[in-house]
Amino acid sequence: MAEDKGKRDSIGMSLRGCQTNNGFVQNEDILEKELAPGSPPDSVVTIAGPAEPTLQGARPYAGMPKEVLFQFSHQARYRVPREVLFWLTVASVLVLTAATIAIIAVSPKCLDWWQAGPMYQIYPRSFKDSDQDGNGDLRGIQEKLDYITTLNIKTIWITSFYKSSLKDFRHGVEDFREIDPMFGTMEDFENLLAAIHDKGLKLIIDFIPNHTSDKHAWFQLSRNRTGKYTDYYIWHDCTHENGTTIPPNNWLSVYGNSSWHFDEVRNQCYFHQFLREQPDLNFYNLDVQEEIKEIIQFWLTKGVDGFSFDAVKFLLEAEHLRDETQVNKTQIPDTVTQYWELYHDFTTTQVGMHDIVRSFRQTMDEYSREPGRYRFMGTEAYGESTDRTMMYYGLPFIQEADFPFNKYFSELNTPSGNSVFEVITSWMENMPEGKWPNWMIGGPDSARLTSRFGEEYVNIMNMLVFTLPGTPITYYGEEIGMRNILATNLNESYDVNTLLSKSPMQWDNSSNAGFSEASHTWLPINSDYHTVNVDVQKTDSRSALKLYQELSLLHANELLLSRGWFCYLQNDSHSVVYTRELDGIDRVFLVVLNFGESTVVNLEEMISNIPRRMRIRLSTNSAYKGSEVDTDAILLDKGEGLILEYNRKNLLHHQTAFRDRCFVSNRACYSSVLNILHSLC
């Protein structure tokens, strides 16, 4: 091998020998001579040794050959800098690498996409109609993606769109792998998802594992006792005589009356937590758990970025079927028909329910490994106590939901500083350490804010959720201040009260508010659409929409809002005052919100050493933006809110007096020198 090598080498040499004499070499020689006139012949030096006597007296010159060079280059004045420079380079490689490792080591975990920006919840039937049938659909949502990006939204949340026979399309799914024809086809869904991802947005969807529609194939097979499907639902023997059923126990459906229904085909009763068209799945059955897992995988494979799991507290019921306790013990048992008349100790949040929810998380984790593809999990815990809601955050070593949706603001019916404050603190104080809060003002199941509080509160509530720590969640229309429609002439039979907050999105002044070109829409358009619509507010600098955009921009750009400490200062029946601050940033945001009648807030009473005047960064009243206020007497109108900005070195969360009034999810500090976040504080 080595010989072979040598042979080849020599061939190479001789070949080169043949062709060395081309124009370039000569050209070079000439240049060489011009550069170094008076130099000794420098073409080829074949005599050995740097200490060649004839060269002894030569002085160094540009272009000198190595024989001359070697006489001088070992001098200290060249050798030392040479060595120094070499080792300096080696050292800087090491230092730079070490610096990289050090910075990586002290970097706090960065915010994931579901933490980084607001979520936007869309009720698909009411967002935008693309096919003139009066019902919104998936292609309509796709048409409006540009609008959603102008809101600086990060995540789109589309509520249930599965194939369903129930008219409100929230619950009662006939096929978890199909899109309801009203909303479009699976291809429409795939296109929508691709378009959402193209814009750098994420999509989460609803999933209701608790029950199916009674038209679902599983139920049809189950009532015939077909194979493994026999126990897919909760069946029990019950007496059925002359059209009246004596149920196995006193359990009630959420909508009232017994939760057991007699099925003629199977001659047994089945259990339903909601409507009788919505039989509960039997989650003690492992086949059912496997089916649900496969459905989750089906949508994750499609590329969906996360789920909102609905009604999970109903997943399991006690197997012993004991009667639940009455709230009013003296009430005659036969007259107990309303859901709130019982304590639901045996039908909600049973032992093992969280294990099932955690198994959903594990399934989603398998799909979260790809970079940037973490799959979000939220749980809907409607009407739960705070303690029980917090259980969905999981335990220190067992991950569960990323967050349970915080619906407490949407349950408030009257605005007041104290009640708003209580919602904030009860969440922040009970939330497990290191977890991430979230805030929603409304949703499909509650009345719209404008109808609960009044129009004056649209801006202040948006300001509230964008300045609290955590993910703000906006229900479509909240950014322009849409209100409930009036409950007249609704030709939908299903629970009218829940429809009022689902009226079509108001896009512009044209007929049907730009929602649909059909002659008739599934719900009437709110009559205020001439003033409350996207098109009008887009151009009005004082509109709710403009403020919403400014708030979401501030939220996206200010570390103070996305990662900072939250310290509450004071609250009373009118106002709530809190700060957002971050180590390493010497600016502080001070948020003053007034939920009551006009009031005067004195900040100097709350914190010492604050400047006499502060700059208004944002105000619900756009006229004040950029001006200054006196901190000893800030006059606030009804529903007015201010984000004040001032410089401060000594941050509140370092002071003992405020220590237990400050919260942060992931501790981080900012270094302005390196423009990085670090955890050395």
């Binding site: 190479g12 080829v44 050959p65 193209d198």
Partner: protein, 490 residues
């Protein structure tokens, strides 16, 4: 690899001898690069990180699997044609420095000077910097799941990579090409892993994405030409070997052979890798993946999916080393011709590397990573690269008539250079026409501004310039222990 190590050992002995026993020895670049190393350099620099991270530029224009694969293949053919022209040039004029000596021979010093001016100050250092930055970003990203790594981290590591590569390459040619071989091997390993698992998946029947693979094809001329434009970029680097012709052993045989083997090899890899990706990803998923090979690894290789990012990082730094290796030679040749400071063409006495050229290149690249974003700069200057390719190949056609008597060991049919020239014209004009921007004008102005320096320092050679450059050269020589290259004493 065995070949390399053998040669290395011998070289080791030689240099040890030359230092210790002070035996006479020519100070010039040694003929270090054999056929295998030559192929490694071609494959190693063409397959950068692009095919692993975003092989989507073609697909996004064709929107269907079938035409996408066809265009990848067609681009490979075009790149081979271009490289064949360079093979003729390389064997006709056996000088290192890529386009530079060919432009010199065909059109005289001014185009050659402008080429070296643009390449040395913008094209080569920025691409070196960009490759190091993307290497660094690639290494840091796993530590910042969910967000982008902070700039300071990326830049620190990129600077470390540049310094390390520069140091290695100025210490020893042997070490530089050894590094190159190791990383190219790593790259080929991961390419092989992806291709083989793709073929296995294909055999298992994952052909869903290949059914109706021509459905939804965009047939507009604009889309196809854009797809070609982007596809050809993936093959950029096919002329790398021409930068080191002088160091090739037996260039008449090895240069064309390396090209003929190397580029079709790359083409095959590209097509099969695309096929592999399509076995587990739909076109939409591929377009939206942030790092396609990593997505592939997660879906196919789990729980060993960590190998993909690791090897892609190797591959990227290998590409960086490759550009450093070749571009250093351009500085060296330009310095030798007097188009740059003479000292840049000098060779380290003890190490026999073009150390000043490589250090110069490293310094320029380090400067480029300091400001905010150089991606846009690179994008606008990319048209200049095709301008010079086109000019060079036009030079080939011209020399067929002006220099009939030059020996041409390889002679390609005349229609090939003409075709490639036309394609280059298209590739220069297409982006300017489709998206005219003032920046292109600035690029042209920058290129032409080289003329000022040319006339001041090269053409007229003002005395005061000499007065400054001479002592600088002398001191640098002694500092770095470098001397002008000597002729082989045979």
């Amino acid at each position: 690899m065995e070949e390399t190590s053998l040669r290395n050992r011998r070289e080791d002995e030689r240099s040890v001898q030359s230092i210790q026993s002070k035996e006479p020895k020519t100070t010039s670049l040694q003929k270090e690069v054999g056929l295998l190393s030559g192929i490694c350099i071609i494959v190693g620099t063409i397959i950068g990180s692009g095919i692993f991270i975003s092989p989507k530029s073609v697909l996004s224009n064709t929107e269907a699997v079938g035409p996408c694969l066809i265009i990848w293949a067609a681009c490979g053919v075009l790149a081979t044609l271009g490289a064949l022209c360079f093979a003729e040039l390389g064997t006709m004029i056996t000088k290192s420095g890529g386009e530079y000596p060919y432009l010199m021979e065909a059109f005289g010093p001014i185009p050659a000077y402008l080429f070296s001016w643009t390449s040395l100050f913008v094209i080569k250092p920025t691409s070196f910097a960009i490759i190091c930055l993307s290497f660094s970003e690639y290494v840091c990203t796993p530590f910042y799941s969910g967000c982008k790594p902070p700039e300071v981290v990326v830049k620190c590591l990129a600077a470390a990579a540049i310094l390390l590569i520069t140091t290695v390459n100025s210490l020893s040619v042997r070490l530089g090409s050894y590094v190159q071989n190791v990383f190219t091997a790593a790259k080929l390993v991961i390419v092989a892993i992806i291709i083989i698992s793709g073929l296995v998946l294909l055999a298992q029947g994952n052909t869903r994405n290949f059914e109706n693979s021509f459905e939804g094809t965009q047939l507009s001329v604009g889309a196809i030409s854009l797809a070609f434009y982007n596809g050809l970029w993936a093959y950029d680097g096919w002329n790398q070997l021409n930068y080191i012709t002088e160091e090739l052993r037996n260039p008449f045989r090895n240069l064309p052979l390396a090209i003929i083997i190397g580029i079709p090899l790359v083409t095959g890899c590209y097509i099969l890798m695309n096929v592999a990706y399509f076995t587990v990803m739909t076109p939409t998923e591929l377009l939206q993946s942030q790092a396609v090979a990593v997505t592939f690894g997660d879906r196919v290789l789990y729980p060993a999916s960590w190998v993909v990012p690791l090897f892609v990082a190797f591959s990227t730094i290998g590409a960086a080393n490759g550009t450093c290796f070749t571009a250093g030679r351009l500085v060296y040749v330009a310095g030798r011709e007097g188009h740059m400071l003479k000292v840049l063409s000098y060779i380290s006495v003890k190490r026999l590397t073009p150390a000043p050229a490589i250090i110069f290149y490293g310094i320029i690249a380090t400067i480029y990573i300091i400001p905010g974003d150089i991606n846009s700069l690179v994008n606008y200057f990319s048209f200049a690269a095709w301008l010079f390719y086109g000019l060079t190949i036009l030079g080939l056609v011209v020399m067929r008539f002006t220099k009939k008597d030059l020996e041409r060991p390889i002679k390609v049919p005349i229609f090939i250079p003409i075709l490639v020239t036309l394609i280059s014209v298209f590739l220069v004009v297409a982006p300017i026409v489709s998206q005219p921007a003032l920046e292109y004008l600035y690029c042209v102005l920058f290129i032409l501004s080289g003329l000022i320096f040319y006339f001041l320092f090269v053409h007229y050679k003002f005395g005061w310039a000499q007065k400054i450059s001479r002592p600088v050269t002398m001191h640098l020589q002694m500092l770095m222990e470098v001397v002008p290259p000597e002729e082989t004493p045979e």
